[in-house]
Amino acid sequence: MSETNFLDAFNKIRASSSYNSPLINLIMSGNAANNGGTARFRALNTTNITQGSVGAAAVVVSQKTCVAADVTAGICTNAQLNQRLLDLNGFTYLLQQYPQFTGGLNVFDSNDYSNYNGLQVIFKRRISAGLGFQFAYTLSKSKDNRSWDPALSGVSTGSVQAASSTPFDLRDRSLNYTWSDFDRRHVFQGTYTYDLPFGKNQQFLNTSNAVVNQIVGGWLFSGTIIKQSGRPFTVYSGVNTLSNVVQSTADCNNCDRHMGSLVNESGRNFWFDASDRAKFSAPVPGSIGNTGRNFFIAPVYFSGMHRSPRNGR
């Protein structure tokens, strides 16, 4: 059995619990025939192998230093304790370009891009006969590969929503290019004010009686309304199948981005019901998942505020 690369070796180790990888043997012990290398790889990456987290396994191997258990397993010697295995075996830069910066190497560059198109229709009425309003509808589409302000210490990683703005692949920023975090497709906004036509000098109950006027006069209706599409969000797979920086996004079988509605199951609120949730799975090692960043859309947002104050006329 030949192996083409680290991913291939990982997949073969994952597929068979008795498989010994010449490649893993070589990079762990310096000798392709030393099966102690594969054995230690399995011991160090039990969970990663089960889950298919090849990105996490790559970092475990890259950062691995020789410890007593490795000496026992025969992949390094007492004289090599605390030295990095990949350095010892001549594979220093195999899995990480800058393996010496174990705490992170944050790079500030200018490779992001974005596009926005919006169409607005606004209808307003100046106050006349006590009535004034403005209603606006905006149809827009915003796409980008990052939706928030970067700062050098602010690399978002793992499975938080902001992490989907961090490159999935450093060499291909288009993997992150999709609907913005704030891409609300339809937005309707309105404000209105209306003086009720009762009391002195008004259409109804026009009286000089101060008592009646105090009760019925001077009322107005006013308010604001916002109704807009929900924000997009990312569903992660829970596994580092692509890199160890950001989790890959989930695979979803025959799903469209409008899937989901609020459901209550035994007192807990879910956006995806049980049958929807069953459609999700983790992508295979080395792939990103078929849903991608910001694939799904959160609930519609509605805010209405109405007031009926008296303007003291």
Partner: protein, 125 residues
Amino acid sequence: MASDRFATFLFGSFIFQSTPGNNVLVQNSNFGASGGLYRNVGPIIGGLVPPSQPSAQQQPISFNTTSNNVIDPDLQFPQIHEWSASFQREFKRNVIEVNYIGKHGVHLLEVTTLIRRTFLPAFQE
């Protein structure tokens, strides 16, 4: 909206300044503590020597467990292009307005991390 989401001055005033090698702190806390007078401070300031030289930054440090910040030498200024068309019409007390806005941003600033780097499938045995 699709625009330069980033206060450019923040880059110049803080981020760039805080990258390795751009600033070195030199101080003397003995002079004041032992009763030194302000009028005598000139030679003290003149005698301060930076603890490291810019040349020391030419070679990356060999090992570090805390995070390091660097700036892409090919960094470009963000560019935003915006185009719009508006139509407005008034009749009696009513106004109707139709606007189109398009925006395109390139070279927007981003930060990423090279450590725990993207998995490399191209590796050959």
